[in-house]
Symmetry: C2
């Protein structure tokens, strides 16, 4: 087996472009580091396009060698390389001997979404990824990255997402009219803000709704505010705000709680009749 030893290898150079947002958008691909994330992706039905790996580092881990054998059997190109070459593709200090080039997941956008999450100017990739992870667990149907939000395929976002990127339909929108075009039929839109009077639990989350979560540093944009009804999370003490990922999870799980405990009025009538 040939081992890539040069960081100037054309395959490595092409993959390295995926460390930048522009490269990811152009190639419609992104990088995934470590056994766990690659295995999650495969189990979610997304096949890597290329695998770069360091044979010596993988040899010690049984899950890794099993995974690699499985991928080779499926025809995935697996390229051995030196630790120095792999390091140029990795963002983490310990990429665990494996980096995969992944295609952007192409999950169909839900037509009659019951619960849509919109990230507005969320710039912290860790928060964005954590929001995706929570959104999947809360039963969100699709997530929209509105203008000036971080790239969902940023490596930190992918790591924090724990596989949600492969299972949850995502769309990145350059304009707010593109965001609105995805919301069909037009649901009520709510936005979490510190200043609102209405508490987040005073909303009927059993209907079809969209929720906007703004970035922590900037809050929500004017466009978002003009589209949505403001909600707040009542707070104790002298706390001024919550982390954006925390605020999103609290509201999304209130929606999940209401849906679990009290189905929509029309359904409960049907059950009673």
């Amino acid at each position: 087996m040939l081992t890539i030893t040069s960081t100037d290898n054309p395959r490595v150079k092409l993959a390295r472009r995926l460390r930048e947002r522009r490269g990811r958008a152009k190639q419609a691909q992104f990088l995934l580091e470590g056994i766990r994330l690659v295995r999650d992706a495969v189990q979610s039905g997304v096949q890597p396009e290329v695998i770069f790996f360091v044979p010596d580092q993988l040899a010690e881990q049984e899950t890794a060698t099993t995974l690699l054998a499985e991928l080779q059997q499926r025809g995935v190109e697996c390229l051995a390389c030196t630790p120095a070459v792999l390091a140029t593709l990795a963002e983490t200090v310990t990429p665990q001997g494996i980096v995969a080039v992944m295609p952007w997941p192409a999950l169909p956008w839900p037509v009659n979404a019951k619960l849509t999450l919109i990230l507005d100017q969320v710039r912290d990739p860790g928060n964005a990824g954590t929001l995706l992870r929570s959104a999947e667990a809360a039963g969100v149907d699709g997530v929209i990255f509105a203008p000036e939000s971080v790239d969902p395929f940023n490596d930190k976002s992918v790591r924090a997402g724990m596989g949600a990127h492969f299972r949850l339909p995502l769309r990145v929108c350059g304009t707010w009219s593109a965001v609105r075009a995805l919301l069909t039929p037009e649901p009520p839109i709510y936005i979490a803000t510190a200043e609102a009077v209405r508490a987040y639990d005073q909303v009927d989350w059993r209907q079809s709704v969209a929720l906007i979560i703004g970035g922590e540093a900037t809050g929500a944009s004017n466009e978002a505010r003009s589209l949505a009804q403001p909600l707040t999370i009542p707070m104790h003490g002298r706390a001024e705000s919550l982390n954006a990922a925390i605020a999103g999870a609290i509201i999304l799980f209130e929606a999940a709680r209401q849906r679990r405990n009290a189905p929509p009025a029309i359904d409960s009538n049907a059950t009673c009749g």
Copy 2:
């Protein structure tokens, strides 16, 4: 005004020990970086013991110069130093020209706590700090760091806490019997786990309770499990778990929601009668 130029200056060396957990425990002090956190601490009534600052870096920021003048007036020792000296005290790349030596806050432990949060093997300092921030906002009365949890005064934890460290009573316990000794009178204890049958919203959070949140990597310890009744957050999709800080916030804000919307039976009787 004298400027400290040597990283071997005895005051700098003493402060530098606070970058380690052992040094923090021995001196009962910790370091705080940046204007915002130092101002938050002062506004919460905690006075810095020493301030190290880079005059040129602070001169441009009005809030900084105002704060420094105020602290000097109150008799806080403010030591000018070079950027190189300050860098040896800071964990962030941009400490914004100021690092404060703070005393451990000495807030009294609540005797009849209504809501106590216990962190069990939470090792990620960002998660611990975010949990403190959420706990304050949810109305938690006190937070216990159980054995094998991160130091609450780790710099990342302090940054993520956004000032909660100065306003929320915290205790670090070396043993589980020390944890139990803080819970008086003994409240029911719940623990969030993935395997439980009972949903977190099927608990009466209006009573006095304690909630254990386990670390993400390890889950909860056997000691914690033996003390507490298990609860789960029902999840959709193929999500296997939630981030520890997210799980904690979801449950704490369910407690806050119940307390806000439905006061304990005895209180509502009093109101009705």
